[in-house]
């Protein structure tokens, strides 16, 4: 095993782990290729530093590279050497073309999904008692006003949902209402898509501004119905 054998095996193993190993760990997800590239770059940097620590290891690391590039006693690898010389400028050209070409993709939109509410909507507690009657009434209002988009099963898959981007929130998903306070829901229901702040850009939410049509008490009851129907609990101050 030469001085370059181990680093190459390490790089290949690292790539294989990032590309095929990591996504299979429960709770993980496939890494974007740009991130894999960055990790490989860091690995290569680490190997390079390690290999050039002492004069001896540095020579052992560089010598085969130098000999390959100069073509000194490499016998049958000569053809591959020329192959690399042809491939390298082509790769440089290709990369340059890729980075200067005008993108066909529309502008990217990064949206803060749960932007901070205005001050007056933080920390409000639900004034409607959580009684079976109120929950039932809330579910009734939900069925009439919310379910066309948010779905009869509270899953965001109502019949009117298909054309809307962002998609109506799925309340059964633990990353929606389960991590929000009732006060936050009150704000989003009351003000709707047009009430989003700057960081909620591009403000495409089709959520109606329900304060125009529904009394506050109904909204608080809808909130009770939503949590109950989606089997979630509001986030509270620990």
């Amino acid at each position: 095993m030469g001085a370059l054998g181990k680093p190459i095996i390490l790089m290949v193993a690292m790539y294989a782990f990032l590309k095929f190993g990591l996504p299979n760990i429960p709770g993980s997800a496939p890494l974007p290729s740009s991130l894999i590239f960055l990790y490989l770059l860091l690995t290569a940097g680490g190997i390079f530093m390690f290999k050039t620590l002492s004069g001896e290891s540095k020579d052992a690391f560089w010598d085969p590279i130098r000999r390959f590039l100069t073509g000194e006693n490499i016998g049958g690898l000569q053809a591959l050497r020329y192959g690399v010389f042809i491939l390298f400028p082509l790769l440089v050209g290709w990369q340059t073309y890729g980075s200067t070409a005008v993108s066909d993709l529309p502008p990217t939109e990064s949206r803060t999904i749960h932007p901070a509410p205005p001050g007056e909507y933080t920390g409000l507690s639900n004034p409607v008692p959580k009684t079976p009657e109120n929950i039932m009434q809330g579910k009734g209002f939900y069925a009439a006003y919310c379910s066309p988009c948010h779905g009869g099963n509270f899953d965001g898959k109502g019949p009117a949902a298909r054309g809307f981007i962002p998609a109506p929130a799925n309340f059964a998903d633990p990353t929606t209402i389960a991590m929000l306070q009732e006060s936050y829901l009150f704000w989003r229901i009351k003000k709707g898509g047009v009430g989003l702040p700057i960081e909620g850009a591009p403000w495409k939410s089709a959520m109606p501004r329900w304060e125009v049509e529904l009394p506050d008490e109904w909204i608080w009851k809808i909130i009770l119905g939503e949590y109950d129907g989606a089997h979630q609990s509001p986030r509270t101050w620990e």
Partner: protein, 275 residues
């Protein structure tokens, strides 16, 4: 020199694998998004401004957009006929034509369709540029076609209830119904000179577009099922008129490749001299 050869082989194998990995990784970045934009293909001849069936439409890539009932504002509707619109566009540097195609089982006098564009730099809420509470939004320009009149109305709005026809009518439209499908072509000049009320289309730039469709069917008592705000709507999507082809990328690539080649020569010369 057997061991050296073996080492070299390992180097090359590793290098090839690394390059292949980079190519595979880099290539996968390319096709990330679905058809989120309408691309107006550049033509050299004139655009078929009044012919939704012209053969040249097949040269424009179709983009499909899902529709929802308009639930954002009163009077809302909870179910609509049209579930998707297929959109194509063409331009010749002066005129732009947008073809909207959708399935509608019946042809009715009140069948109608519209395009909506953001006007100016400020983002508009998709629903007629409905004013936002914390953000200053912009107005919208609406190109509205109705089967009954057979023509287009060029309109402006900034929120529901503010829709009104413009003084300058710049848009034409023509609809053809066949086999349960409407094909409506809207056309206008790319630039109109009324930048405060009309969308100005600059080739190569992305702008925002949305769609609306009304099924002019009547119910059992003779009432229109879809009318006014009771319509099928889409979210905002992107529209771009293709810019003339730009070959400068090839030139930069060639320069970079030559520089890469030069770098190789210098490096090897230096290595051979033992520097």
């Amino acid at each position: 020199m057997k061991p050296a050869n073996r080492i070299m082989k390992q180097v090359l194998r590793g290098g090839t694998a690394a390059i292949a990995a980079m190519i595979i990784g880099g290539a996968s970045l390319g096709y990330a998004q679905e058809s989120v934009s309408v691309r107006a293909t550049l033509l050299t001849g004139g655009v078929p401004v009044d012919d939704p069936s012209a053969a040249v439409w097949s040269s424009a890539p179709p983009a499909t957009f899902p529709m929802s009932p308009q639930v954002h504002w009163q009077n809302r509707i909870q179910e609509v006929t049209v579930k998707d619109v297929i959109v194509r566009a063409l331009h010749d540097g002066t005129q732009v034509a947008v073809l909207v195609e959708y399935t509608d089982p019946t042809q009715d006098p009140d069948d109608a369709a519209a395009l909506e564009f953001m006007v100016g730099d400020k983002k508009a809420h998709f629903a007629h540029g409905q004013p936002m509470l914390q953000v200053e939004g912009g107005p919208v320009n609406i190109w509205f076609w109705k089967n009954k009149t057979g023509k287009a109305i060029d309109m402006s709005a900034k929120g529901f209830g503010t829709l009104k026809p413009q003084e300058h009518q710049d848009v034409t439209a023509k609809g053809v119904y066949s086999n349960g499908t409407w094909k409506v072509v809207f056309a206008r000049k790319l630039l109109t000179g009324h930048a405060d009320e009309d969308v100005q289309i600059t080739a190569g730039q992305f702008m925002s577009i949305s769609f609306a469709v009304w099924d002019g069917r009547k119910d059992a008592v003779g009432e229109l099922v879809e009318k006014g705000s009771q319509k099928a709507v889409s979210s905002w999507w992107y529209f771009r008129a293709d810019a003339p082809p730009d070959y400068s990328g090839y030139m930069y690539a060639a320069i970079a490749a030559v520089l890469g080649l030069g770098f190789q020569f210098v490096l090897i010369r230096k290595l051979k001299k033992g520097q």
